[in-house]
């Protein structure tokens, strides 16, 4: 190669190139569309562009349309001539729901899962994560793309569903309710699939997770269609106001849970120094509070205490699962998180528990559940007159026992996990496994020992079954005996001991104080917050 044959690289001035993407549109509606597209999540724009060119979407959308048209023709031809004088909407609607369930409850959630895992597999995730998009924006982008797909599939079947209403035999309320439920379930499944996709970061885990997600989706769609075809559609009647309120409350709670799941998925792919604990714990608090208030509203409406006991159990299980994950946290408050620690004494007393760390998280959960139990008990006393068939004591005892169990088991779990080196991978999964093992042993060992000592005969409840959550709580709800009293004393002492020890061990985290912003960050903040742009000399070197 000689110097004479090599031309200078062709680098043009850079302003001549014209393309529909690189040019600003002239027409009004196009400019408005561009303005909107620039404000929504870039991942949605990217995925819509990709989907429009992809075979997978074309095939699945086409098949859905073909299936809907085919079912319409087949069903109508089978129902002729009855269709002219009898209501025929219900069987058609059932068929459409079956057709809709496949894309909405299998293809869309699994597509979202694959989309997230493919980012890791194709090495595009790193490019995404070093862009200005936050981890939460990445997850929300995937979720929004799934929602766009859901809307497209719904729009494809919308004319068919309108036809079922015109054929009579099915009410508008039934159609809208079950459509809404299908969409809500699809969104929930997508959120869960994204969470699993975010957690499964290695190839092996991704393969296992794909099988798990696919199995779960098929099970979900099977259960939903079984319910829908056997009970849901046929038994659906016009609702009264309390049912509508219950549905509204349920949707609100589900929305919060989906938000919590998406935040958790975002946390799983976020940079380690980022503080994800605080937003997660706030969402948990909102979920529990929302559930509590709606349940309280319904309880006053139906005047029964069973829903409250159910709520106490439900929130206990949820907090145990969350607690198992939190106690597996590595427990490091990064200097970045320390910059936002509360400054005032009152702030530190109430808000420090929202910050990262297994110990702080444990105390936060125990306090949250204590607040729930306290609120339930207070409400129970306040509204004693509306609980006519029960004394109300069972709620107090059940609530207290569950609080002791939560404090004891999670605290013990955290103490054991503390002995595990911080660098060990999959600490959270290990923490969940440990809690499950501990619960099994605590239930089975006393049970087998007493059974063996009793010559393999049935035996009544005794204080030695104090760590058996199900039996002790069930017994306490039925009747408060002397043995229950002894169990309560044992559990109280154990819970106080474990809680106290954990409290002492998280002193270091509690004592951390807010650190000042580094000068460079402060300088940058000032530039960002300055109302006028800093004038610069364009000719300066």
């Amino acid at each position: 190669m000689s110097s004479a044959t090599v031309e200078p690289p062709d680098i043009p001035a850079g302003e001549q190139f014209r393309h529909r993407i690189t040019d600003l549109p002239q027409r009004g509606w196009e400019r408005l569309w561009l303005w909107v597209s620039e404000r929504i999540n870039p991942i949605v724009v990217k995925e819509v562009r990709q989907s429009l060119k992809s075979k997978q979407f074309t095939i699945s959308f086409g098949l859905t349309l073909i299936a809907a048209v085919s079912w319409t023709l087949i069903a109508i031809s089978l129902m002729v001539p009855r269709i002219f004088y009898m209501p025929a909407g219900m069987p058609l609607l059932a068929g459409y729901f079956c057709i809709l369930a496949a894309p909405l409850m299998v293809i869309v959630p699994f597509g979202a899962f694959l989309s997230l895992t493919a980012e890791t597999e194709d090495s595009t995730f790193e490019l995404l994560s070093i862009s200005a998009l936050s981890a939460l924006q990445i997850v929300h982008g995937k979720m929004s793309s799934a929602c766009v797909q859901i809307l497209l599939y719904l729009s494809a079947l919308a004319p068919c569903i309108v036809l079922t209403y015109l054929l009579r035999g099915v009410g508008l309320y039934t159609i809208l309710l079950f459509l809404a439920w299908t969409v809500v379930l699809s969104v929930c499944e997508t959120a869960l699939a994204l969470l699993i996709g975010a957690v499964a970061r290695t190839r092996l885990l991704q393969v296992g997770a794909a099988v798990l997600v696919l199995a779960g989706l098929f099970l979900g769609v099977g259960l939903w269609l079984t319910f829908l075809l056997n009970e849901g559609l046929t038994r659906s009647t016009e609702p009264d106001s309390s049912v509508l309120v219950a549905i509204f409350a349920t949707f609100m709670i589900i929305a919060m849970i989906v938000s919590l799941i998406l935040r958790a998925a975002g946390a799983a792919i976020d940079f380690p120094s980022e503080n994800n604990s605080t937003p997660l714990r706030i969402r948990i608090l909102v979920c529990v509070t929302l559930t509590f208030f709606w349940l309280l509203f319904l309880t006053i409406q139906v005047q029964d205490e069973e829903p409250i006991i159910g709520f106490l159990f439900g929130s206990f299980i949820v907090l145990m699962v969350i607690g198992a994950l939190i106690t597996g946290e590595r427990g490091i408050i990064s200097p970045r998180a320390q910059r936002s620690l509360p400054r005032t004494f009152v702030g530190r007393v109430f808000l420090t528990w929202l910050y990262p760390g297994a110990g702080l998280g444990y105390v936060y959960l125990v306090c949250s559940y204590a607040a729930i139990v306290g609120s339930v008990i207070a409400t129970e006393f306040f509204y004693r007159n509306i609980f006519r068939n029960q004394t109300g004591l069972s709620i107090v005892v059940a609530g207290y026992l569950l609080l002791c169990y939560l404090t004891f088991y999670l605290g013990l779990n955290r103490l054991i996990i503390m002995a595990v080196p911080r660098q060990l991978p999959a600490r959270m999964i290990g923490s969940v496994a440990l809690l499950v093992a501990m619960l099994f042993l605590a239930h089975l060992i006393p049970l087998f020992l007493v059974y063996f000592a009793n010559d393999y005969r049935d035996f009544p409840y005794g204080w030695h079954q104090a760590f058996n959550i199900i039996w002790t709580t069930g017994e306490a709800i039925d009747r408060v005996s002397a043995d229950i009293g002894v169990s309560m004393v044992i559990l109280t002492l154990c819970a106080i001991g474990v809680f106290g020890l954990n409290l002492v061990l998280c002193t270091r985290d509690v004592m951390l104080v807010r650190v000042a912003l580094p000068p460079r960050v402060r300088q940058d903040e000032n530039v960002l917050q300055s109302p006028e742009p800093v004038s610069t000399d364009p000719f300066a070197d």
Binding site: V6, D10, P12, E15, F17, L24, L127, S131, S273, D541
Partner: protein, 344 residues
């Protein structure tokens, strides 16, 4: 520091190409009062392996820093730490004064990273790919379109803007990756093996792009195995082996430190052996190898004036000199001398 230390590049085929004047869409950056890239005692362990072991260096604005090392030396790990894709076990990395550990969001706005192995999306063409990343960096409206046009033109992708990414050649993919890294006009660019798999022409073009970006005031950290490329485009280099930065500085400084003498070759019409005997005992002369027509020796004074004096003395002694030349050491020689080739 940058301009004063810049080494005079040797003239060869590549540098015979006229320098390209790059017209940036952005204003030329002012010099910051801190290094644009800074590694402060960074350690990174993978089990018992010290992938990065107490590495510190700085890169100023407008400087191209070459990062050299054998496979598994810790180059990519250091670059990933700087790009907020990995965390150091100890120490900190700073970009434009912001910590990569504690302020990754601020670092990302100022940083463009071109990994060795980068991913692409299916069913996308070049312009859509760049548009997606422009949007991801928060560019909107005229700012976005301007950035896209500039990047496409700068990387030469404007002619194949509508071409599917999966159908691009290796060189074009490298250009696309560079375009993605610079779409938001970052102050710092980290390029991991950018010339990998490129043909000679593409390498020359890439080198000009890199120099153009540095001239625009950006700080560039470039790793490569093609040492001749680095020697020609870098203002300073760092050689890393087994996780440790063995040496860093300008290429000229490092060469001078490693061997403070030059190899002199003299070709004659005849009387080479006589010249060899004449040179014995002369100051700064060592390791004389003489044949009838060629004499080689080491001259331990790397000053052109001293070399001229020596030539004058030889001619004055009536030796028939045809050619008097000095052999400078290449970056490859430096690399081979410094590194042991050991892996961990």
């Amino acid at each position: 520091m940058v301009d004063t230390n810049r080494e005079e590049k040797p003239t060869d085929v590549a540098t015979s190409i006229p320098p390209v004047v790059v017209q940036s869409t952005t204003k030329r950056r002012g010099r910051a009062d801190h290094p644009m890239i800074q590694l402060r005692r960074v350690y990174r362990f993978f089990g018992n392996t010290r992938a990065v072991n107490d590495v510190s260096f700085e890169v100023e604005a407008g400087q191209v820093f070459g990062y050299i090392g054998p496979n598994g030396a810790g180059k990519t790990t250091s670059m990933r730490i700087l790009s907020t894709l990995d965390l150091p076990d100890y120490g900190d990395a700073l970009v434009d004064g912001f910590s990569c550990v504690n302020d990754p969001d601020r670092v990302r706005k100022r940083l463009g990273f071109m990994p060795d192995n980068f991913g692409t999306y299916p069913n996308m063409n070049c312009v859509e790919y760049l548009d997606f990343f422009a949007r991801s960096y928060g560019l909107v409206g005229r700012e976005r379109t301007k950035a896209l046009r500039h990047t496409l033109a700068y990387t030469g992708l404007d002619k194949i803007a509508e071409k599917s990414i999966r159908g691009l050649s290796k060189g074009m993919r490298q250009r696309l990756c560079l375009g993605r890294a610079m779409i938001h006009d970052p102050a710092v660019l980290i390029l991991d093996e950018p010339a990998n798999g490129l043909d000679p022409r593409a390498r020359i073009e890439l080198r000009h792009m890199i120099r153009g970006l540095a001239a625009d005031g950006k700080a560039l950290l470039v790793s490569s195995h093609i040492l001749t490329e680095l020697g020609e485009m870098c203002d300073a280099i760092g050689i890393i082996e087994r996780g440790q930065l063995i040496v860093s500085g300008t290429v000229a400084d490092i060469k001078a430190k490693l061997r403070p003498h030059v190899d002199v070759v003299i070709r004659l019409i005849d009387g080479g052996e006589r010249l060899g005997a004449w040179l014995v005992g002369k100051p700064n002369v060592d390791q004389i190898q003489a044949s009838d027509l060629v004499v080689r020796f080491q001259f331990s004074c790397d000053v052109p004036h001293a070399q001229a004096e020596m030539l004058r003395a030889i001619v004055a002694a009536e030796f028939s000199v045809l050619e008097f030349s000095t052999e400078s050491r290449s970056l490859e020689d430096v690399f081979l001398q410094i590194t042991t080739g050991a892996v961990q």
